[in-house]
């Protein structure tokens, strides 16, 4: 055994059993092979299990020269007991779009991180970065030099920066993707490197790109600007495959329900009746779709992937303003642009981004998310600043109160009036 000190961790040890991969076992094995930081990490976790409180201190600003993000300071509040995790800073590393890797790249990352850090990681952080957990302040610059010189990879975002954009697997392996999600993700990340590394915003800003309305990267729930693939033309139908589903030769939903007997497939019950717009029907043994009424929810396509595919006239729907509850409550993204072509160099989209950032950087309060600015100043103001046309698709329903903020120039004769003229018509 290497020269390391293992703490007594009876509570953590209870998390070694059971079938799900045990992070405790993984960390302990790493520690026993010579990484004291891993054993101290488990020791401190054991203390937290006893106290039911965290033992990490609040913040501490650290970073690399010239960047205002990508590194998050972390210090133990029990450094005497756990000296190897006294400083335990986080480094966010910008993942390649949709998280494909080569072993050559990852092995080198591991070697670097064993040398300069704790050997602990998150693959991945919630926003999508590769997260290196645990190093000391003096290692931050060498880590950054190693990443950029020896691996050609940069840091991700943190703080009031653009956060690292992320995307779904897209056309690389999914037949439903209406977008080249990786290309969009890569291009936006490169276009906005300055915003990603140097804080200039009121608060964080996130882009997420999903290839279709199934939204596998949760763009609509988690990004200030959600780019979600969609199509304008008709759903492609293979009527022979429709018959094969009806005849039971093909498994509905690609076999997603295989371990339970749900009875024979019933296209009326499982597809047509569940269509949220009721735009489908059978005519004889042919499936008909009234595409003009379709809202592209993906259900029929999900259930019968061999028979139905999205159209080929594809682009993106842009929605804005999603966030978790802090502070004004959770928001989902609101529809801004129903359809936009997304092809390099994405000029039209970037013009839109420039306009909304101008507004937010001018009017946003400290730590106000973009979605909260829309709430505070109104969707109308957003529409004006983004120079969009108001369309009924932006709202669930029209307002039910009559309190319209008419502007003076919208009212015939303006607002300047003469009370004397008024009184000539109406005695006081």
């Amino acid at each position: 055994m290497a020269d390391v000190k293992k703490h007594d961790t009876p509570q953590c040890d209870e998390l070694k059993s059971g079938p799900w991969p045990s992070f405790v076992d993984d960390i302990e094995q790493k520690g026993l092979s010579g990484k004291q930081a891993c054993l101290d990490l488990l020791g401190q976790l054991e203390l937290s299990y006893t106290h039911k409180e965290t033992h990490w201190k609040h913040g501490g600003i650290v970073g690399v020269f010239g960047y205002g993000g990508g590194v998050i300071g972390r210090y133990s509040d029990a450094p005497e007991q756990f000296p190897a995790v006294a400083h335990f800073h986080t480094i966010r590393v910008n993942q390649p779009a949709s998280k494909f890797y080569s072993s050559a790249f990852l092995r080198k990352l591991c070697e670097m991180w064993d040398h300069r850090g704790s050997g602990m990681t998150n693959l991945h952080g919630s926003t999508g970065d590769m997260v290196l957990l645990g190093t000391t302040t003096d290692q931050l610059e060498p880590v950054f030099y190693d990443l950029t010189h020896q691996m050609s990879v940069d840091l991700g975002g943190s703080g009031s920066n653009l956060r690292t954009p992320s995307c779904c697997i897209g056309k690389a392996r999914c037949e439903w993707s209406c977008l080249d999600t990786q290309a969009i993700c890569y291009d936006l990340t490169q276009t906005y490197q300055d915003e990603l590394h140097r804080p200039a915003f009121p608060y964080k800003f996130k882009f997420k790109i999903s290839g279709c309305p199934n939204d596998c990267v949760a763009a609509i729930a988690r990004s200030c600007c959600s780019i979600i693939g969609t199509w304008k033309d008709d759903i492609r139908i293979d009527q022979e495959a429709v018959k094969a589903y009806i005849g039971g030769e093909l498994k509905p939903n690609a076999g997603a329900h295989s371990d339970r007997d749900w009875g024979p497939f019933d296209i009326q019950k499982e597809v047509i009746d569940l269509c949220p717009t009721g735009c489908m029907r059978m005519e004889g043994d042919e499936l008909k779709i009234d595409n003009r009424e379709c809202t592209r929810c993906m259900h029929c396509i999900n259930v019968m992937p061999e028979a139905l595919r999205p159209g080929t006239d594809t682009g993106a729907t842009i929605l804005v303003g999603a966030k978790a509850p802090i502070l004004e409550g959770a928001q989902m993204s609101t529809l801004a642009i129903p359809f936009i072509r997304m092809e390099p160099p994405y000029d039209e989209f970037k013009e839109f981004v420039d306009k909304i950032w101008d507004w937010w950087m001018e009017e946003g309060k400290n730590r106000e998310r973009f979605g909260e600015l829309i709430q505070r100043q109104s969707l109308q103001e957003f529409i004006r600043r983004a120079e969009l046309k108001p369309i009924p698709q932006m709202v669930k329903e029209p307002r039910s109160n009559p309190y319209v903020f008419w502007s003076e120039d919208e009212v015939e004769g303006g607002w300047k009036r003469d009370i004397k003229e008024f009184r000539k018509r109406h005695a006081a």
């Binding site: 059993s17 059971g18 079938p19 799900w20 991969p21 992070f23 405790v24 076992d25 993984d26 976790l45 937290s48 039911k52 965290t54 910008n94 993942q95 390649p96 779009a97 998280k99 890797y101 080569s102 072993s103 050559a104 790249f105 591991c110 300069r116 602990m120 693959l123 645990g134 060498p142 030099y145 190693d146 950029t148 691996m151 050609s152 940069d154 690389a172 037949e175 890569y186 490197q193 199934n214 609509i220 690609a254 997603a256 371990d259 339970r260 569940l274 949220p276 929810c297 993906m298 259900h299 999900n302 992937p305 978790a324 509850p325 802090i326 502070l327 004004e328 409550g329 959770a330 390099p344």
Partner: protein, 418 residues
Amino acid sequence: MDLEKIREAMKESWGDLPGFDISEVVSKPYDPELGEKLYDPKKPMANRITDIGPPYFEQFFPEVIKKNYGKWKSHEIVEPGVIKYTSETGDVVYAVRCGSPRLITTDTIREICDIADKYCDGLMRWTTRNNIEFHVETEDQLRALLDDLKGRKFPGGSYKFPVGGTGASVTNIVHTQGWVHCHTPATDASGVVKAVMDDLFEYFGSHKLPAQVRIALACCLNMCGAVHCSDIAILGVHRKPPFVEDDRITGVCEIPLAVAACPLGAIKPATVEIDGKKIKTVRVNEKRCMFCGNCYTMCPAMPLADMDGDGIAILVGGKISNRVSAPKFSKLVIPYIPNEPPRWPSTVKVIRKILETYASDANKYERLGEWAERIGWERFFEKCDIPFTDKSIDDYRLAYDTYHTTTQFKWSVHTDNL
């Protein structure tokens, strides 16, 4: 667009960036001394490379993915955890999905690399829900890979790479850092996730549920894990107002920022006397506190963690997909469960109860939130045997939108004694 055209377009815009082709730089052995050689604290700009972004994605795509980019035609989940994709070209690829605890060591990453080297030309990917995916092209390779994965275990007996997480299953829990690495948590993350996934393991590797069930955990209201649109959300919550460290506050935070941090205006500037000296600090109107913790985020002298105050809330019925119904927020159904390390038995039990009630009652394809809306929330509480409390009634922004303004309701245990 095809990959070649994309590459041309990207090269036109970004072709001089080193991440475009990292094969050469990565093939060189790691030089542990290079960092110190290149970085000079006296000349911090010397040798500094900045703003290069991530490596270009295409170089990590397996050949079959490159060849069939944009040409995939259909897919079939041949067994839980294995998805077979078929291309218009006739090519097929099997994606094998494995769970992971997200918090992993470099040794585990190396083991993943070993597997990828052995079966997948050294290439692999991760999903948004922290699963690992390996790609193979033949049934033989698939069987060999599955057998290999099944045999890899940690010393304590847990699987290193459990296969599953596809279709109508409980896939991996998206989660945050918890007590392992965060300064504001109200609960742990990795420990709770391990306990819940151990209990629900049978649902990870099978397709028994009416639809997919997405579970997520955030260890405080900041929700780095963005659990607010999950079928089942496990959320760390505080229940005691912040301390105010009068003797420390001016040294560690700006009082106007601490005051402005409170969304309910419960923090006001104050002056107190300590040892005859007047000190500027703040006071909290504790009755107004909703325990969001935003003050602590802004001011380290206002901690609110507490072993008796902190615990877990359960929210259910959220979703992200636009399938059938619009995306939904998760709703708070259990306001508090105590923290019970290391295995959180009360949390584990209630999640299983909700999951199995849903599984036995919902229609095929129906997500948990769609089921709860169809049967009515009064029936949800009744069926899941969860006591309804005033804590589930919204009293924050837009609360009125959640009130019931109709005579249409169902009789349930809540009205049976009237």
